[in-house]
């Protein structure tokens, strides 16, 4: 089967934009670490897919959506973010996944690879990424309201359904990017563009737009670097992003000065 041309570039662009669009809300909700750990849950899904010979994408999405519901349920039970429980459970699932995955597939599962996809699956991934990005912009006001003042937001009729919506959007975006970036690093791709944009933006509207642009640009540039120098795409994208973050740091100081 001849894979569609530029598969990795298209995925990098659209999933990168989606990661950048959801990142600011995850960051402002102080869920960066929970979000990062969430991506590890994908590993047992990949393992089951490899054992039972179905496309790992479906295993990933099922496990991540289940994890999103779990985080939502845990948040509702306590006012304190249940970091420890999430850390333990998700690290355990990483360990289980590693034990189940055949050695030859471990590196690719953890750090990503240039995906080989059928055209329909590629189109489905691109379309979903576009829809999820758009949803972040449409729901931005409600997500922000719940971040700035949860009580006030509830008085205005915004319920916990929006918390769940944010988690599900986040989990699906992570699922879309895992083939390219890998389970260990995909969580970081949602955090890095938002962290860079936070250093540069003065307002929320610019913050979300900048973060989406950085998400797309860093991912595409990372894939280009990886293809040119025969690196794995995941580490190339993440390192490039971290490099830009370091460059953006002086701007944050100037902003608050």
């Amino acid at each position: 089967m001849q894979p569609p041309p530029h598969t990795s570039f298209w995925i990098a662009l659209l999933v990168g934009i989606a990661s950048g669009s959801v990142g600011p809300f995850i960051l402002l909700r102080r869920m960066a670490l929970v979000g990062d750990a969430l991506s590890h849950v994908a590993l047992p899904g990949i393992a089951l897919a490899l054992i039972y010979r179905f496309d790992p994408f479906y295993g990933v999405i099922a496990f991540l959506i289940a994890a999103a519901f779990l985080v939502f349920w845990l948040e509702g039970r306590s006012r304190v973010p249940p970091d420890a429980i999430v850390g333990l459970l998700f690290t355990a699932s990483l360990a289980i996944g590693i034990l189940m995955i055949p050695n030859s597939d471990v590196i690719e599962s953890l750090f990503g690879a240039f995906p080989v996809l059928s055209l329909p699956l590629l189109l489905a991934i691109l379309l979903t990424a576009a829809v999820l990005s758009a949803l972040c912009f449409v729901l931005a006001k409600r997500f922000l309201f719940l971040i700035v003042s949860p009580d006030l937001a509830r008085v205005h009729g915004l319920g916990r359904g929006y918390d769940l919506a944010l988690l599900l959007i986040f989990a699906m975006i992570v699922a879309l990017g895992i083939k390219l970036v890998g389970t260990l690093l995909m969580g970081a791709l949602t955090i890095i563009p938002a962290s860079i944009a936070k250093n540069l933006a003065q307002s929320m509207r610019r913050y979300v737009i900048l973060s989406a642009i950085f998400g797309g640009a860093i991912s595409v540039a990372g894939v280009w670097v990886a293809e040119s120098f025969r690196f794995l795409p995941g580490p190339a994208i993440v390192l490039l992003g971290v490099g830009i973050f370091v460059v953006s740091l002086p701007f944050a100081r100037r902003k608050t000065a």
Binding site: L28, A140, L144, V148, P150, D151, R154, V155, Q202
Partner: protein
């Protein structure tokens, strides 16, 4: 419930984690009046507000007039100071369109800023850059955007620098008299209660006293509320 009542509370009780934090609270809030809730720390004042807003489960009755519009003014923003959110965007949370607000919305916002004595330039500031007084006036202006018939204020001057507390209360008094908005406010400042509130409710898990401040806040009531070494109001 009388025709002028905005809110009717009967035997309201709240239990949190098995502990009673409010017991059998009853009072009525009239249209256009300023009603203060006072009490020591941990007396259940904020719990009472949260129960009235439907944010906490409770027993007993908290009945709002059906056509009432409630404006709630929390003490502060829940977001950290480094978050890049401008004051304008905080107001836009109430706009039907967050990305491109309508001219009608912007005009109304100008009116509320004027009423609160805030300059347009405040809109460009980040939420973390606002002073205590600006934060409080931004929060009140935002609540006013809904044209509420009642404003709930949780210690509106808690984070305001000394000297500016009066400004906030003068502005609230203007809202009350110019628009007929009822004010239900938690306060720790007895002089404010005497000056601006028509009626007061003293709370320490249950109701200790209730009525016009000059009558209700007698030495016995204050002693029960704050302990024997309490402070007294001096008539000037």
């Amino acid at each position: 419930m009388t025709d002028d009542a905005v809110l009717n509370v009967e035997d309201l009780s709240v239990t949190l984690d098995g502990l009673p934090v409010l017991q059998n609270v009853s009072f009525t809030l009239q249209q256009g009046e300023a009603f203060a809730v006072i009490g020591p720390n941990g007396a259940g004042k904020t719990v009472l507000f949260r129960a009235l807003l439907g944010l906490l489960p409770h027993t007993g009755l908290a009945r709002w007039r059906p056509d009432v519009k409630i404006g709630y003014v929390p003490q502060r923003f829940s977001v950290d100071r480094s978050a890049p959110i401008s004051a304008l965007e905080f107001f836009l949370l109430q706009s039907p369109n967050f990305w491109r607000p309508s001219a009608a919305f912007t005009n109304q916002l100008d009116q509320e800023l004027n009423l609160m004595g805030l300059h347009q330039s405040v809109l460009r500031k980040g939420l973390g850059e606002l002073s205590g007084g600006e934060t409080q006036r931004v929060l009140i202006a935002s609540a006013l955007l809904q044209k509420p018939s009642v404003l709930l204020l949780d210690e509106p001057t808690a984070a305001v620098d000394a000297g500016f507390e009066d400004t906030v209360y003068t502005l609230l008094h203007r809202v009350q008299t110019e628009r007929g908005t009822a004010l239900l406010l938690i306060s720790h400042d007895l002089s404010v209660v005497y000056r601006y509130a028509q009626r007061v409710l003293c709370l320490n898990k249950s109701v200790v006293c209730q009525g016009p401040p000059v009558e209700a806040l007698n030495p016995q009531a204050l002693a029960t509320l704050y302990g024997e070494a309490s402070f007294y109001h001096h008539e000037h």
